[in-house]
Symmetry: C2
Subunit: 188 residues, 2 copies
């Protein structure tokens, strides 16, 4: 092991990622994943959600755990505030995706991270979702993400980490580009 390899450890197994990249280049059908969530309405604007199994590498993948979430609207909207609002949850997904990418790119480039912090803010004009003005969109009118990163690297190298993470981020793509959503309904 070289000094460089011993010195930089962001907790990302870049070797495994590069191996996966080679393996999936050879068998592209294995690269087709399906990510899932299930959801149950509790009452009012409050719902509970669960994330567990997914499909990938050509097979159902069972986790040994599941992750639960609650969403609601705040008291300001006469709701119970029993969970984050769904749009705040989207900001969480964006932060998680960009930060995982930053750590992975840093590892690949031999840059030791000491801390990575982000604040995110999405503006929204409620005239959209309330149906007051049909020219106002329902979603965010834009999102600002501010990263503050402490790392053994120059400002330019740190900026390049974040730029590369954006370029390969699934959630950044989902938010900045259109994705088709098909909703089906059955009466129970």
């Amino acid at each position: 092991m070289s000094v460089q390899e011993a010195a930089v450890d962001n907790g990302v197994n870049v070797g495994a990622i590069l191996e996966a990249r080679d393996a999936l280049s050879a068998t592209p059908e294995a690269a087709r994943f399906k990510w899932r969530a299930s959801s149950r309405w509790i009452g009012g604007t409050h719902s509970q959600h669960r994330v567990g199994d997914f499909f990938g590498l050509g097979a159902e993948q069972q986790r040994d755990k599941s992750f639960t979430f609650e969403t609601d609207h705040p008291e300001l909207f006469a709701s119970e505030d029993r969970g984050a609002t769904p749009v705040e949850v989207v900001l969480v997904g964006l932060a998680g995706c960009l930060s995982a990418g930053i750590a992975s790119v840093a590892q690949n480039r031999g840059i030791q991270l000491r801390s990575v912090k982000a604040t995110l803010e999405g503006g929204m004009d409620l005239q959209g979702i309330l149906g007051i003005d049909s020219d106002v969109r329902n979603g965010f009118d834009g999102i600002r993400v501010n990263y503050e990163i402490d790392a053994d690297a120059s400002e330019d190298e740190i900026a390049a980490l974040v730029a590369q993470s954006q370029k390969r981020s699934a959630v950044f793509d989902i938010i900045t580009n259109p994705t088709d959503v098909h909703v089906a309904v059955a009466k129970a």
Copy 2:
């Protein structure tokens, strides 16, 4: 109170929402909200996130609590699986937004809900994020949402609830239409 009003209770205060709509029609600047999240990298692909205060009705809005989230990548990617993947978190946000809308629209239309369940699945070809094929997008190639709803209403009325919720959903809009994301970086 009429029999109809007494009979239908989905836990949504539609009166308050309609009052807010009237109030915000008169003072559109109060309708400009800012939703926020903050995020801290823990190690590897694992991050912790917090949702708390937001801005709206022309003022900073303090919650009496905050909501925390963890995101990570699964063991399949040589990660620790300490939280849902960021793209699964986006599915949670979509479910939460659509279900809150369904409950609100049902209340407004005098339809009693008994149960609302959803399953969501987003397809993703990892050749995108792994940089194997630049023609493959990083994000979902599409999302399918399946609702199963038990309510005092016909199949057509139930389908119309879901359609109206989609029409007014912030997260549905965020996913199906492009949103500008500006990322700034500072060296700590």
